[in-house]
Symmetry: C2
Subunit: 548 residues, 2 copies
């Protein structure tokens, strides 16, 4: 009944608008405004106080403005016109900054968005966002505190929201996806390429991801499900389902006619895939060969066959190495019968390389790379506490070693002054070997065949540096405490610890690697434990022997 009565419906909508406005749900405000007659909007505007009136006006787009203004009384009309003029003033600046390339102008752009945000000029924010690349919008969102972030997010158009989400780190992405209306999220997902959508679904909490999948229909749904079935860190997880297939025996002219029918090729298409009648991958045909070929030539004479299909289960790290080594722009992915199942493009490989590099640096400090730099304090504390707890266990181990020598320390308190030096020199030397070995393993430089050589070299370097710093520190300590004995003890301990450090730096990553644990993650903690324990033990142990 209510639905049929236009005036009652308008009242309801108006109330909804005021409610959505007060909750900061700007996208919903805009949606509701679009359903309302301009005269009703004008009436609503006149009913509002000045502050809410300005906030609502920020959600009215240029076209609607023109239709509302005639319905307004002279006084509020003048007020809103003035507001718009203020907004429009730096329009020249806006144009000059379209798609800024250089970093300094980009920072100016972001600065402008932030200023508009601070002044509550959301309309201007929307205009500026519209001219900003989704990757930059994502960067801006990540740099904002949660409150402002939601405000900016509400001004991102639905068509671009999905793309922006794909550029965000996981924690932030999930938060903003939850903020969206489920319908809007589903709508924005339809603008995504299939591989981006797969990544998005995989990075969202499973309930939201499942809803996104359910909202996709037809052939796209089938392809999506196929792509989702591959593990994220394999060739299958990196690939897209959009290769363009041609047969080897057709002529160039036929291929060109076929392509013209397609009208537009998928992004990052540098080659077509040549397959046989059963869909087996046979080779590639570069667009650059196609455009330089005569229309009478056959595909079979132009195609290249020196690039094998990438097995769908190849680990993503190997895929990245392959793209790097062979300078590929795209590559075919095949199943175990050599059937073409997809295509990997270099842009996804680049993202993957960057993420890996980021992850390893963050992991070394026990941080989660997907975490929000400006997220809630409690969530941030929890993940870091784990790492501090692990470190406490190793520190207690070292303390336990020291406590066994309390009697010796009591006799000669100078030992307490010097013992951190021994531990820290060992830690530095060990981490040098560790870093070298972890990298060597990652690059494939280190193999069974040259382990012995590597061991000899690292021990050699340790002996040289061990003797060098044993002498230097021994002399320094002799000068400082005027005790040749103390100098001798610390020198000997330094040498012992540097040798142990090199051996540990070599053995730990090899062992972790064999156990299937990423040495970059746990290697550092284990190494420091070894060098601390060995450093204290060697130094205090030698002192005990000497003093006894």
């Amino acid at each position: 009944m209510e639905e049929r009565d236009p005036s009652s419906r308008a009242v309801t909508d108006s109330e909804h608008i005021i409610e959505a406005l007060s909750e900061g749900k700007n996208k919903r405000v805009r949606k509701l405004l679009a359903r309302l007659h301009p005269a009703k909007i004008a009436a609503l505007i006149e009913r509002l106080d000045e502050e809410r009136r300005a906030a609502l006006w920020q959600q009215v787009d240029a076209e609607l403005e023109e239709r509302i203004l005639p319905h307004l009384r002279a006084e509020p009309r003048k007020q809103l016109r003035e507001m718009d003029q203020e907004d429009a003033a730096p329009a020249a600046l806006l144009d000059a900054e379209a798609m800024p390339l250089a970093k300094h102008s980009e920072q100016g752009h972001l600065q402008a968005i932030r200023e508009a945000l601070a002044e509550g000029r959301l309309k201007r924010v929307g205009k500026l966002l519209h001219r900003t690349h989704p990757a930059k919008v994502a960067g801006l969102l990540e740099a904002l505190p949660p409150g402002e972030r939601r405000a900016v997010w509400s001004m991102v158009e639905t068509e671009r929201a999905g793309k922006v989400l794909t550029f965000l780190h996981e924690e932030i992405c999930a938060g903003l996806a939850k903020d969206l209306d489920p319908d809007d999220l589903a709508a924005s997902a339809q603008f995504l390429e299939l591989d981006d959508l797969v990544d998005l679904i995989q990075s969202l909490p499973s309930d939201i991801g499942a809803r996104l999948l359910a909202a996709t229909g037809g052939r796209r749904r089938q392809q999506l499900e196929a792509l989702l079935s591959y593990p994220e860190d394999t060739a299958g997880g990196l690939m897209n389902a959009d290769p363009i297939e041609v047969r080897a025996d057709v002529r160039v002219g036929t291929v060109l006619r076929y392509l013209r029918l397609l009208d537009e090729l998928p992004p990052q298409t540098d080659m077509l895939m040549v397959v046989d009648r059963t869909g087996r991958y046979q080779g590639g045909l570069r667009l650059s060969s196609l455009v330089t070929a005569d229309t009478q030539e056959r595909v079979t004479d132009l195609m290249f066959t020196d690039l094998e299909g990438i097995p769908v289960d190849m680990p993503a790290a190997e895929v990245a190495q392959l793209f790097e080594d062979l300078d590929l722009l795209s590559a075919p992915v095949v199943d175990d019968q050599q059937h073409l199942v997809g295509r990997i493009t270099v842009d996804d490989v680049v993202d993957r390389i960057r993420e890996e590099a980021d992850r390893s640096v963050m992991q070394m400090a026990g941080l989660n790379q997907e975490a929000d730099t400006f997220g809630p304090i409690l969530a941030g504390s929890r993940s870091r506490a784990v790492w501090l707890g692990i470190n406490l266990v190793t520190a207690l181990l070292a303390a336990g070693v020291i406590s066994r020598f309390e009697a010796t320390l009591q006799q000669l308190v100078a030992l307490a002054v010097l013992m951190p030096i021994v531990a820290s020199m060992g830690g530095i030397a060990g981490s040098q070997t560790l870093t070298l070995v972890i990298r060597g393993l990652a690059l494939g430089q280190i193999q069974r065949g040259n382990l012995r050589l590597l061991f000899t070299r690292e021990m050699g370097i340790s002996v040289i540096n061990g003797v060098l710093w044993a002498v230097v520190i021994g002399l320094l300590v002799f000068a400082w405490f005027n005790s040749a004995m103390l100098g001798g003890i610390i020198g000997a301990a330094i040498l012992v610890n540097l040798l142990c450090a090199a051996a540990a730096g070599l053995a730990i990553p090899l062992l972790l690697n064999r156990l299937g644990i990423d040495p970059a993650l746990a290697g550092g903690v284990i190494l420091t434990t070894v060098t601390d324990v060995m450093g204290f033990f060697a130094f205090l142990g030698l002192a005990t022997l000497w003093l006894a």
Copy 2:
């Protein structure tokens, strides 16, 4: 005179061959062999002892073999034939392994090369190398000790040697380039793309680089000099001089005819550059648009203009970010008048991203990323000693702090047992903040506008974790030493040190950044110094106050 007497020349050549062979200069041996008549070679072979005979035979290629064998006496002929058969035996294996994609078969391939090398079967090594991608050859060379490395290097064909050099780390690259005959190096450089040649010249010692430049002629020389004039870490240093230019007002049919004349497009060509009559960049024309367009359409209707030209002086890091964000395959580079000067392709950007990631990990341990993992021990010791020396200074600082509290330590030796715990917890907490801030700066997440927010968040996390671990450690110490006072002291010290650590982790990278120093390089050392000094000072200082 000597030149005219063939027998004397042959004698001289034979001697040269024997000399080159004994020095392991296999490339020279092969060159000399090519100049000699098969009969003379046969005579030479018969004069050699068995070992050198086998070594020489390894340098004779299949074609030459057939011409030499008839000149040999029956007995050595039989011997050499048998040797060849042994070499040829695993030919099936060779074919099956051509261009191996998967890592396991790749390792088998390298293993085969190494085995052939160990058995002195250089001919087989050469055959295997020929089927290996230059990037993999480079990887193999880096994994070999210097002696074997030179042997394998001597078997790489001149046409591929230049490409292999571009994949090597600097120190190894320079060493192997010096090993080559200057003429061979110059010859191999002519097979390189211009941007690879630029990189090679820049990574070689300046005398060798200058010689390479001098050996290049004509238009290539001019382009090379132009490219070399740009700093390595800018867009100019990344670019190649091979863009294909078209005018906006021509028709697709004309463009296609022009491309057919070129016959082959430069590698990684995904778009043509549209320029005006004066060479100013106006937009891009994707090959994928070209192949789907009608021949009557004009370039101006097909080209895209939303990608600006990259300024030639844009820092390489920004170029990489741009490629990542915009998913580019290639991009135009322009001078300050918007004239098109070159083209950057994504493969070089990928290499650059990987190198940067590698460099930052290595730098954090004070290692040089370009150094040879299997290089001479003394050279390896020197670079690491610097880092150990810097660490010693900071360790002495911490020791100096401890020594001020000798009296307190004398009173309560348990303090010596516990003080490393305080220092190490601070070190871990500080490095977490440090890593987050360094990454935030690199990603552009951290700007002036949100510093205050970041500070609040990091201090908040520190307070939570500080209180948590102060209580945990305080209780543990109380239980261990049965002293509430000691538990209280260490708890308070932990809290103080974690707060200082967060402040230092935030301030150090910001300060270094403003001073133009890479925070990833020096940040860690400075931070540990602060947390060690503060940890010892807070703990022992509080203990002194309490005990007094």
